[in-house]
């Protein structure tokens, strides 16, 4: 690990200023915000990240979960995963988010990991993690050995010839289905970024994963109210029953009125280079009867553009079954 200087800003303004001088907020940034550290410290030990300065944002507050007027919820960027998942407001209004968070990592990690940090969670692609290998995300232009190599865990949606790394987060799949907004304070003031616009497909620049610019500090996330009677569910399929990343997962929000689907949000994890929203599946569901056949048709639509690699073709069918079953669970009568 390279040595670093620790900076402890007393305010959001100071924190933003401390990072604003960095040439990038993306891969390889010489100045990094640190909160829980569960991701960053790991990558610093691997020399995948080598910041010269760490900006410790743990004393900025930003850790509350609050109800918003109109039925939504505001989650501070420094709210720990455990506290969000166990919060009564989240459990009552957005079970999909609580379930997603609790399906990831371990209690020890969730006690440290934050909402904002999880939004920026890095891929688990083995080539990204190992500096002995080429990786376009870690070292732009060096190549992608995953395409011809170990790609069983990697993405089938949103890939490019430069990168097929999976976004590993569960939280972010739920936030995508919930149409959350990411609130950022940057050098030029505050911005509200819909989560659908927050992540960037790898394309020819896989080192750039989000729209965050130097100085941008995530301060909180807001989630809008769901339609009356809407139900939400997270289903995660993985190699082990606990403490494992998703092979495929689905975050579903549905409302059924008079036997027909009147509202549907479908997002998938484990299969995309970003948390994957499927407008195709939602379109296929809207106005249809809540039947297994219609769920399967929606799942087919969701995976329509899937591009399997040499080892992960199984994910296409697995994700379809995952979406189908999650829709079944979400529309089940209580």
């Amino acid at each position: 690990m390279h040595t670093f200087e620790l900076i402890t800003p007393a305010s959001v303004t100071e924190a933003v200023k401390a990072q604003a001088g960095s040439p990038t907020a993306q891969q390889g940034a010489p100045v990094r915000f640190i909160a829980g550290g569960t991701n960053l410290v790991d990558f610093m030990k691997l020399n995948v990240e080598t910041p010269r300065q760490l900006v410790d944002i743990n004393r900025l507050g930003l850790d509350r979960v609050e109800a918003l007027p109109g039925g939504g919820v505001k989650i501070g960027a420094l709210a720990r995963n455990t506290d969000v998942a166990q919060h009564e407001l989240i459990k009552a209004r957005y079970p999909v988010l609580s379930e997603a968070i609790l399906s990831g990592a371990t209690v020890q990690l969730r006690n440290l990991a934050t909402t904002g940090g999880n939004l920026l969670q890095k891929t688990r692609c083995v080539y990204y993690r190992d500096t002995a290998f080429a990786c376009n995300k870690r070292n732009p232009g060096s190549g992608c050995p995953a395409i011809e190599g170990h790609n069983r865990m990697l993405a089938v949606l949103g890939t490019s010839e430069h990168c097929i790394a999976t976004n590993p987060s569960d939280q972010n799949v739920a936030l995508t289905a919930l149409e959350a907004t990411v609130h950022v304070t940057g050098a030029k003031g505050e911005r509200a970024i819909p989560i659908a616009e927050f992540y960037v497909l790898p394309g020819a620049t896989p080192e750039r994963e989000t729209v965050l610019a130097p100085g941008d500090l995530i301060t909180h996330v807001t989630i809008p109210a769901l339609p009356d009677g809407a139900k939400s569910v997270y289903l995660k399929l993985r190699d082990r029953a606990s403490y494992e990343f998703a092979l495929a997962s689905a975050a579903i929000v549905t409302q059924v009125s008079g036997g027909r689907i009147s509202f549907a949000r479908v997002a998938m994890g484990g299969v995309g280079t970003v948390p994957w929203r499927s407008h195709e599946a939602e379109k296929a569901l809207l106005g249809k009867a809540a039947t297994r056949e219609n769920f399967r048709a929606a799942a087919e639509a969701a995976l329509h553009g899937a591009k399997p690699q040499t080892q992960n073709g199984f994910k296409v069918e697995l994700a379809k079954r995952c979406v189908t079953h999650a829709l079944t669970l979400a529309t089940k009568q209580a």
């Binding site: 620790l6 030990k45 760490l54 990690l109």
Partner: protein
Amino acid sequence: MAPIDEKDPQPLTSLERISRRVFLTRAGAAGVATATAAVAAPLSAQAQAPTAAAPTEAAAVPGAVPVTLKVNGSTHRVMVDPRATVLDTLRETLSLTGTKKGCDHGQCGACTVHLNGRRVNSCLLFATMHQNDEITTIEGIGTPEKLHPMQAAFVQEDGYQCGYCTSGQIMSAVALLKEPVGADDASVREALSGNICRCGAYPNIVAAVQAVRHMA
């Protein structure tokens, strides 16, 4: 007095009665006196020991920074490398070797400690970032004379084989008692999935945890 194997016909000398750990710790401390490249050295905790590095010598360690850590109710002022984790500081600087280093990447749980009452992986914490926090290690929850009920239950239920993961398992299990965990064994297994046991003592670990929960 450490128990001596009654079947052993040869009583141990006083030197032999010193445990391996005590011997290694003392030998290590003596080594510090001559080692100039020590990563970290205590400022106050062992300041009375003639072998401990003086503050000026510690300051000579390139880039070392002063850190105050609250561990098991005691405050320690030490000089550490900014990269030092809480885990390394506990073991190497404060000689609290009950907390184990397994993977050093937050994957195995051997290094589990309590941070302000919540269990965390100490290998993922930079010591410099946790100067205002209350850290509790396995040394802080019980003593050989007065075991924590969870420690006693691990002994009773044989919740280990090699013992390397045990302190992490117990720290997780103690924290679990205050967490919203279901009553069944499956819930306990899920709640302890962050503590890996390569020996596979899991059934007995679950039994130990459930025994303590049933006592409450």
